[in-house]
């Protein structure tokens, strides 16, 4: 199990390197970049915030997008609440580690004790590698005068694509993804930067609620 956790952590450490690089290229300082990895610690939301800022949007539009992307972690918490302690200080710390990887590792085990161990082992190891990777990536680009020379402006969409791909296993999410991309581009010339994302979020929420109400 430790070996699985290490494998996941090393893979995400590499992914954190690209986050650190993209974040500093987007104009965040080294300290802001590292603060995101320490305090936010949920990859897609971090990429979204720096992606919006890098594209010229306000940090508040980026923050709203990050929070919307973080909503899925609340669902993970529900699944994990039967495994983890529901009270005390430990729950406050556990909450910080409620992300895709720890949830997947925890719910893959049958026995509650094993689940709990998988959750904490993955969370702690991942946290260390995630932050080391971020620092390495941020340092690497901190002194690059023009990120465009290294194609760093093309890195965020590729990162989003790599995050999106595993969620596209059925026809419906593919249709939703396509529609969301089109809607965002249609809105873009007319509203402040970052706002197309919020319009897309509202539309998909309305769609989701209407559809499941049927």
């Amino acid at each position: 199990m430790i070996r699985d956790a290490l494998g996941i952590a090393i893979a995400s450490g590499a992914y954190a390197v690209s986050f650190g690089a993209i974040s500093t290229a987007a104009g965040l300082t080294l300290l802001q970049t590292c603060a995101l990895s320490v305090l936010m610690f949920t990859g897609a939301s971090q990429f979204a915030l720096v992606g919006v800022v890098g594209a010229g949007g306000s940090v508040w539009a980026g923050a709203a997008t990050a929070a919307l992307l973080g909503s899925r972690n609340a669902l993970y918490g529900v699944r994990l609440s039967s495994i983890l302690d529901r009270s005390g200080l430990r729950r406050l710390l556990a909450a910080h580690f409620v992300i895709d990887e720890t949830t997947a590792m925890a719910i893959a085990r049958e026995a509650p004790a094993e689940s709990r161990f998988a959750f904490w082992a993955t969370g702690v190891v991942l946290f260390v590698f995630w932050n080391l990777g971020t620092l390495a990536g941020a340092l690497a680009t901190h002194f690059v005068p023009d990120p465009k020379v290294f194609g760093l402006d093309a890195a965020p969409p590729a990162a989003f694509l790599a995050l999106l791909a595993p969620r596209l296993r059925a026809r419906e999410p593919m249709a939703i993804a396509f529609a969301a991309g089109v809607v965002a581009l249609v809105c873009l010339p007319f509203v402040p930067a970052g706002v197309p994302l919020l319009i897309v979020a509202v539309l998909v929420a309305v769609f989701g609620v209407l559809r499941s109400g049927r």
């Binding site: 992914y15 690209s18 965040l28 603060a35 995101l36 936010m40 949920t42 897609a44 915030l49 992606g51 594209a55 940090v59 508040w60 923050a63 997008t65 990050a66 929070a67 992307l69 973080g70 909503s71 899925r72 972690n73 669902l75 918490g77 994990l80 609440s81 983890l84 729950r91 909450a95 910080h96 992300i99 465009k148 194609g151 402006d153 093309a154 890195a155 965020p156 969409p157 590729a158 990162a159 989003f160 694509l161 790599a162 995050l163 999106l164 969620r167 939703i176 993804a177 396509f178 529609a179 969301a180 991309g181 809607v183 965002a184 581009l185 873009l188 010339p189 994302l197 979020a201 559809r211």
Partner: protein, 99 residues
């Protein structure tokens, strides 16, 4: 301003994680919530890909980033690891600009 936005976003993301562990399960086990929330990242990530690839400021543009995302799509279809997808896209854009 940047710091304020960063810290508020961090607090919001933590609050969402904690809410899942703390709120009564029936609130979040509602069928509408369960079926809607997983759609949000799909739509947002797709919108982020579209806007980060095909726009600069308020203008729709078609430049080397389109070729870069094309290379990234191929890398994803070949099941390349995350870093390979990102680096291949960045390298494509950098090389095309050199031409």
């Amino acid at each position: 301003m940047m710091w304020a936005g960063v810290l508020v976003a961090c607090a919001a993301c933590y609050a969402l994680k904690l809410a899942g562990l703390s709120l009564p399960a029936r609130l979040l086990e509602d069928a509408r919530v369960q079926r809607t929330i997983p759609l949000v990242p799909v739509a947002l990530l797709a919108a982020l890909i579209a806007t980060n690839t095909f726009s600069t400021g308020h203008h729709l543009v078609l430049d080397v980033r389109a070729a870069a995302i094309g290379v990234a799509v191929v890398a994803v279809l070949l099941r390349a690891p995350f870093l390979v997808v990102v680096v291949s896209a960045a390298a494509t854009a950098a090389l095309l600009r050199l031409l």
